[in-house]
């Protein structure tokens, strides 16, 4: 039931006949336009040539569509020493995101299941430590983690960056699954125990299939989160596996000579494309993820 329906149930006037509503609508629409402006500007700029950028307004449509900047951003712009565009970064990010998401979501579900249904001594305190840790800046744990992973030869490797992503996403992944499972009737779990199902059998055959929607929500959260990460990639991924965000920042902020804003914006759009696509296709699930992640701890 919406507030609006409740406020005006009887023969509502048409929206254009009500000045107060008209004002509200105008406000809402202009706010939306403001929010869309950066995306609009970014797209326009990426299709202009540098010549056109200098000669036309920021908000003006390009006289002719040019894909040169996109091409350059993808395959020939300089990201530091190398000038191969950010395509390598794209593939690095893909390689990082897929295992980080699968492992983190799987572990989160397992932790959540164990915490919600199995009364384990000390598990509550462990979870509390995890939850407090989630609110602390990563920089505090950065150096010790480097020192911990270095002797295992994991710093600067794909495995290393994946492990680090799993570590730092564990609090929120565990939280959302713990809350999800805790909201299920406990009798369901007891019935499975009486049916002779063990720890893993009940998890794999019963709880996991029941949490399919949450698995999707968590996967979307985790995939966008890992894709958008900059700091961990910068420190742990190593030169070989720098994710797209780090390459993008290098491309824009460390180029020598004249800056090519059209290439910058094309590269930015390319980097933002994956999360934006996920968002466009699964916005509703994305919203559910926010609700789940912000639930009470």
């Amino acid at each position: 039931m919406s507030a609006q329906q409740l406020m005006r149930p009887s023969a509502p006037r048409r929206w254009y006949a009500d000045p107060a509503r008209l004002a509200l609508l105008a406000l809402l629409v202009s706010a939306a336009l403001c929010f869309l402006l950066p995306l609009y500007v970014m797209s326009l700029t990426s299709f202009k040539s540098m010549e056109e950028i200098r000669n036309t307004s920021l908000f003006a449509l390009p006289p002719q569509l040019s894909f040169a900047a996109w091409q350059a951003a993808w395959s020939s712009a300089c990201t530091g020493v190398a000038c191969e565009g950010i395509s390598a970064g794209f593939w690095n990010s893909v390689l990082i995101v897929i295992p980080s998401t699968l492992i983190a979501v799987g572990l989160g579900a397992l932790n959540g299941y164990a915490l919600a249904f199995w009364r384990l001594r000390g598990a509550g305190s462990l979870f509390a430590v995890l939850m407090i840790g989630a609110f602390l800046p990563i920089q505090v744990m950065m150096l010790p983690l480097v020192r911990l992973l270095a002797p295992l030869h994991l710093v600067g490797t794909l495995t290393g960056i994946i492990i680090v992503h799993v570590i730092f996403s564990m609090p929120v992944m565990t939280l959302i699954f713990r809350n999800y499972y805790a909201a299920l009737p406990r009798e369901l779990f007891l019935a499975a125990r009486l049916d002779g199902a063990g720890f893993l059998y009940a998890f794999l055959r019963l709880m996991l299939p029941m949490s399919l929607p949450m698995l999707a929500v968590a996967a979307i959260m985790q995939a966008t989160g890992v894709w958008n990460d900059y700091l961990l990639g910068l420190v742990f991924a190593g030169r070989e596996h720098l994710p797209m965000t780090v390459q993008l920042n290098n491309l824009v902020n460390t180029t020598t000579g004249t800056r090519e804003y059209n290439v910058d914006m094309a590269a930015t759009l390319l980097t933002a494309l994956v999360p934006l696509l996920i968002y466009a296709l699964a916005g509703r699930w994305f919203v559910r993820g926010i609700a789940a992640g912000s639930l009470k701890a």
């Binding site: 009798e187 007891l190 019935a191 009486l194 002779g196 055959r205």
Partner: protein, 373 residues
């Protein structure tokens, strides 16, 4: 044969003793109902028998085998939960076979046993459905079937009717009783609903604060409640209690309260009859109070009909019509009592009504201990 033996069982929850040195034996084929208010430990007892709750001390024997510390899956008990706890992602067939598959029973055998139980419970047409597509009654049958498929010797039912609306509850209650008669399985049923308890049980255990206060057939428990708690817990409207004392009049005993004297038949007492002057509480079921002014029954008739005894006149203070009968609340000198009026005779508020009781049907309780005399 004994299906379940509980010996000196104590269970603690959060430092509180929820079940206190409880003993119980359930014979094969019985329908035992555990009745009590919420928090009396009846569900905890059930969970402990199932192995879902660890006891503090004592033993649980199922089919003669000590199962106190067995894994719930090993005990060969089935359980029907309040919410039925059907696995929502699995079909009816998947639900019925889950326990067998978890134990690694061969696929063909699972299929055969599921089909057999499905036929028994008339679920064979619904095997492909998901729980969400079933009616309340069908869900209950699946929940029971899940226990039957495993050929569980003991069926535990944890308030399986309490989440339903009144109409469906009555239907499923009947269905449950028929099922028990047909299967002859041993069932232990937990409820806080006395109608459910009285109608279903072959034996009834009334629980309070972790103890069984009375164990017997529903008729025994209703007619001869062992103590004041049981007496007050069962029956609606509740039993009337009148405080008074005993007076010896010649060879017979009389119960005396303000404005009230009742001659007590000797066979009323369990053991030794009470002493002269001892304080007692008289328990009187509303249906055992008769109206002397009822049509066709003159007061003289009542006075001479054997064990009926006048208890004086009461003023009608409240009338609760219930369709088939009505409950009259009457002010007596010794307090307010409820009585049932089945006769269709109309009374008005404020009217004085002459009353009589069936003295053989009264209960007497010790004033301090509350135990039946």
């Amino acid at each position: 044969m004994t299906a379940l033996t509980v010996e000196q069982l104590s269970v603690q929850l959060g430092g509180r003793r929820v079940i206190d040195q409880l003993d119980l034996q359930v014979e094969s084929g019985e329908f035992l109902v555990l009745l009590g208010a919420s928090g009396c430990g009846k569900s905890t007892l059930l969970h402990t028998v199932a192995g879902l709750q660890a006891p503090h001390s004592g033993r649980v024997l199922i089919d003669g085998v000590d199962r106190t510390w067995s894994d719930p899956g090993e005990r060969n008990v089935g359980m029907v939960f309040q919410s039925y706890a059907l696995y929502p992602t699995l079909s009816v067939e998947g639900n019925l076979g889950f326990g067998l598959r978890a134990r690694g029973v061969a696929r063909r055998e699972v299929r055969e046993r599921v089909l057999r139980v499905a036929q028994l419970l008339q679920l064979d047409a619904l095997l492909e459905r998901k729980p969400a597509q079933l009616s309340g009654g069908q869900r209950q049958r699946v929940a029971i079937g899940r226990a039957l498929v495993r050929e569980a010797g003991l069926l535990l039912l944890d308030e399986p009717l309490s989440n339903l609306d009144a109409g469906l509850r009555a239907t499923l209650r009947r269905e449950l009783k028929l099922l028990h008669q047909r299967l002859g399985a041993t069932m232990i049923h937990v409820t806080h609903d006395q109608v459910e308890a009285l109608t279903l049980a072959t034996r009834l255990a009334v629980m309070q604060e972790g103890r069984i206060r009375q164990l017997g057939t529903p008729e025994e428990v209703y007619r001869r409640p062992a103590n004041r708690f049981v007496a007050g817990f069962i029956g609606s409207p509740a039993m009337n209690f009148i405080e008074g004392s005993i007076a010896r009049v010649g060879a017979s005993l009389q119960f005396c309260a303000t404005g009230l004297r009742i001659d007590l038949p000797a066979q009323l007492f369990n053991a030794a009859p009470p002493l002269d002057g001892e304080s007692l509480v008289l328990g009187l079921r509303p249906e055992h109070i008769r109206f002397a002014t009822a049509p066709g029954v003159s007061s003289a008739q009542i006075a001479h009909s054997g064990q009926d005894a006048h208890i004086g006149a009461g003023k009608v203070s409240l009338i609760e019509p219930l369709g088939s009968h009505e409950v009259l609340w009457l002010e007596l000198e010794c307090g307010t009592v409820a009585a049932l009026n089945h006769q269709g005779q109309r009374y008005n508020r404020g009217e004085l009504v002459k009353l009589a009781v069936d003295a053989a049907a009264v209960s007497l309780f010790d004033a301090t201990s509350g135990e039946r005399c």
